[in-house]
């Protein structure tokens, strides 16, 4: 908890709808992905972020294409929220030549500079030190570009977290450190690996603002994301956001959940942020049932189109192993 935000910005109806649309795109995309895996059409490990949609949906609403994100293996929701087009995203997940990375990076290493998806790392903690570099570049450019570093609760125990937050604070870098605290790191429960009750408290040790946020509540997320991004844009330095959430699908596709109780899982599922926010939009009149159904149909068509595109795409040739190692091709 550590700190309480004073001036809470609130999303207007249009913003709410935008956030919901991003959430729904994430959720539909995730569902379709898992279906493809179940059908044996995708073989790589998949780290679903089902349940964590609110976090990047809200942050991305507040970012432009120029703003940069550095994310992690569990990061496809961050990219979808940021606006990465689904065709090259799917092609990459399927390892195809039309993928963002020609199939060389795959789902753990997607990059798409046009939408500011600059780094996806499979190494716990490593999104943060690199984010600082982009943020330093903003200072050098004199731009107002903001960098968001996504990471998990488990990552808050690794050295890179500490070094990155300290440097960002000393250098007053325009970066937002977004910890998706889903209560588990692989199979390890938060409190069995983390020595502090709220990760946001660690911000005290770096002289920066730190907030524990309900990461499943678009209002709470919006208020804090808004404050953190505005602070960065204004050149006032970094913020640590600890966003409490839950991974509905466990660590990796096929996870057996043996390390958690049935009750806690059911309790979390019962508070599905997508369901709750949808209900809220309908109840407040921000959207109609028909509108949301149409939104869903549009998104599903878009995802299906991306899947079709991906599976029609071919594979890069083995020559690609000699390309992109360096700017200059490696001779055969």
């Amino acid at each position: 908890m550590s700190q309480t935000l004073e001036n809470r910005a609130s999303p207007d109806a249009a913003t709410q709808l935008d956030i919901f649309r991003r959430m729904l795109r994430i959720e539909r995309n995730d569902e379709f992905t898992r279906t493809q895996i179940r059908r044996g059409r995708i073989t790589a490990p998949y780290y679903s972020a089902r349940g964590q949609e609110v976090i990047p949906a809200t942050l991305s609403n507040l970012m432009t294409d120029d703003d940069v994100i550095c994310t992690i293996y569990r990061g496809i929701h961050d990219m979808v929220a940021k606006g990465m087009p689904l065709r090259p995203l799917w092609a990459e997940i399927c390892g195809r030549v039309d993928g963002t990375c020609k199939g060389k990076g795959g789902p753990m290493h997607l990059t798409h500079p046009e939408t500011g998806v600059m780094v996806t790392t499979g190494i716990v903690g490593s999104s943060m030190p690199i984010a600082n570099g982009f943020a330093w570049a903003s200072l050098l450019d004199g731009s107002r570009r903001v960098t968001v570093a996504y990471f998990g609760d488990g990552a808050s125990n690794i050295g890179a977290f500490h070094e990155a937050l300290n440097l960002a604070s000393v250098w007053k870098l325009p970066v937002v450190f977004v910890c998706s605290n889903n209560g588990f790191a692989e199979h390890t429960r938060y409190e069995n690996a983390t020595s502090v009750d709220f990760i946001a408290k660690r911000a005290i040790g770096y002289g920066m603002p730190g907030y524990t946020v309900d990461g499943n509540d678009p209002y709470d997320m919006y208020a804090h994301a808004h404050a953190a991004i505005e602070r960065a844009r204004a050149g006032e330095g970094p913020t640590l956001l600890e966003c409490k959430t839950f991974r509905f699908m466990g660590h990796v596709f096929g996870d057996n959940d043996s390390y958690m109780t049935k009750e806690e899982k059911e309790a979390a599922l019962a508070k599905d942020p997508l369901v709750l926010f949808r209900q809220h939009l309908l109840e407040t009149g921000a959207a109609t049932e028909a509108q949301l159904e149409e939104m869903k149909a549009t998104i599903e068509a878009e995802v299906q189109d991306a899947i079709d595109f991906a599976f029609e795409s071919g594979y890069a040739s083995a020559d690609e192993l000699r390309r992109d190692v360096f700017a200059e091709e490696i001779p055969a």
């Binding site: 490990p45 199939g103 060389k104 690794i158 692989e186 199979h187």
Partner: protein
């Protein structure tokens, strides 16, 4: 060099490399109360490891000897170094070899050097178990074979088994060893079943295994590439070429006697590893062979390894990245036809 240890004596059990690792850990912890096991998710509360390799250990040996850790590899290896110097035999798990990059200081500057820098007062008998290898489409940051770095680091041994029996026997030996040992499990071999003697004990470090006898060419290899060399040998046999396959088992110190004896016998040698060929561990072995057997070799010593690139994601690229049996067979045929 011993001949293949899995002679069908007495009783044998069929088990995977993973089961053999689990069995070795049980046996070592049972025999020596100083043996500790720790790493991310290794305790039963966390499911006994993401792959289940350490399942059952914490229930049997208690939460103080078998501990799950935070994600903090530097702290994991650091704790192993301290506990080892205090008289314990920690077996630390670094989930995948690429994650070792955040613990290099502890391994290289500390574990490997403290005996020497202390003039022999300290000893650091730890084992680091780690897993790696391309083939699972885990791409650039989850599949690298960096054993060459550690082979080049004085003060740490590097073990890389290829068969279930060796997974068990070499791990038992690594745990008993008075010095630090890096124990490399390979993703393509760990889940392949094989015969293991029911009483399989330690297999000495530094001794190669004659995986297949042959007379025309020596294939010198270890870890996941043993299987590819064996497959190549079958293909070569059909072409009338008798290939000998030497499984080094221990990359450092490596069994120079066994390798040189084989190379001298056949007069032709190819060193095969999964690691990138460029400045890879094969250089040491090839350079040593040519030096020791100058003018005795019938053809130059060849090296096969991964191309100079990161591990790619797409399956066809991953396949092209890995040395395939056909690549080995082709190289062997060319050497046998040399001049």
């Amino acid at each position: 060099m011993s001949t293949d240890t899995v002679e069908p004596v007495a009783e044998t059990l069929k088990m995977t490399g993973q089961a053999a690792v689990t069995a070795a850990l049980f046996q070592a912890m049972e025999e020596d109360p100083k043996v500790l096991v720790f790493g991310e998710d290794v305790a039963d509360r966390e499911g006994g490891g993401v792959m289940g390799t350490t399942r059952g250990l914490s229930s049997r040996f208690g939460d103080l000897r078998v501990r799950s850790t935070p994600i903090a590899e530097q702290s994991i290896v650091g704790a192993a170094v301290g506990a080892a110097m205090a008289g314990y035999k920690p077996v630390a798990e670094i989930m995948l070899m690429n994650f070792i990059t955040v613990a290099m200081d502890m391994i290289v500057n500390h574990a490997a050097k403290l005996r020497f820098m202390s003039g022999g007062q300290s000893q650091v008998p730890l084992v680091i178990r780690t897993l790696t290898g391309a083939g699972w489409q885990t791409a650039g940051q989850h599949s690298d074979h960096y054993e060459g770095w550690f082979a080049h680091t004085a003060g740490i041994k590097v073990v890389a088994p290829a068969t279930p029996a060796d997974y068990k026997g070499l791990l038992l030996a690594a745990i008993q060893d008075p010095d630090p040992v890096l124990f490399i499990e390979n993703s393509r071999t760990l889940f392949v079943p094989g015969e293991v003697a029911s009483d399989q004990g330690p297999i000495p470090l530094g001794k190669a295994r004659l995986a297949r006898e042959g007379s025309h060419i020596s294939l010198i290899t270890y870890s996941g590439m043993v299987a590819n060399c064996m497959a190549a040998a079958v293909e070569l046999e059909a072409a009338g070429i008798s290939a000998e396959v030497i499984d080094l088992r221990t990359v450092s110190p490596w069994d120079k006697d066994a390798v040189l004896a084989s190379a001298e016998k056949t007069g032709r040698a190819i060193v095969v590893h999964e690691a990138v060929r460029h400045f890879g561990p094969g250089g040491e072995i090839a350079a040593t062979i040519q030096e020791a057997l100058f003018r005795k070799m019938k053809a130059p010593v060849r090296r096969l390894g991964a191309p100079y690139s990161a591990v790619p994601f797409a399956k066809p690229l991953e396949d092209a990245f890995l040395v395939q049996p056909a690549d080995i067979a082709e190289a062997a045929k060319a050497l046998c036809a040399y001049e």
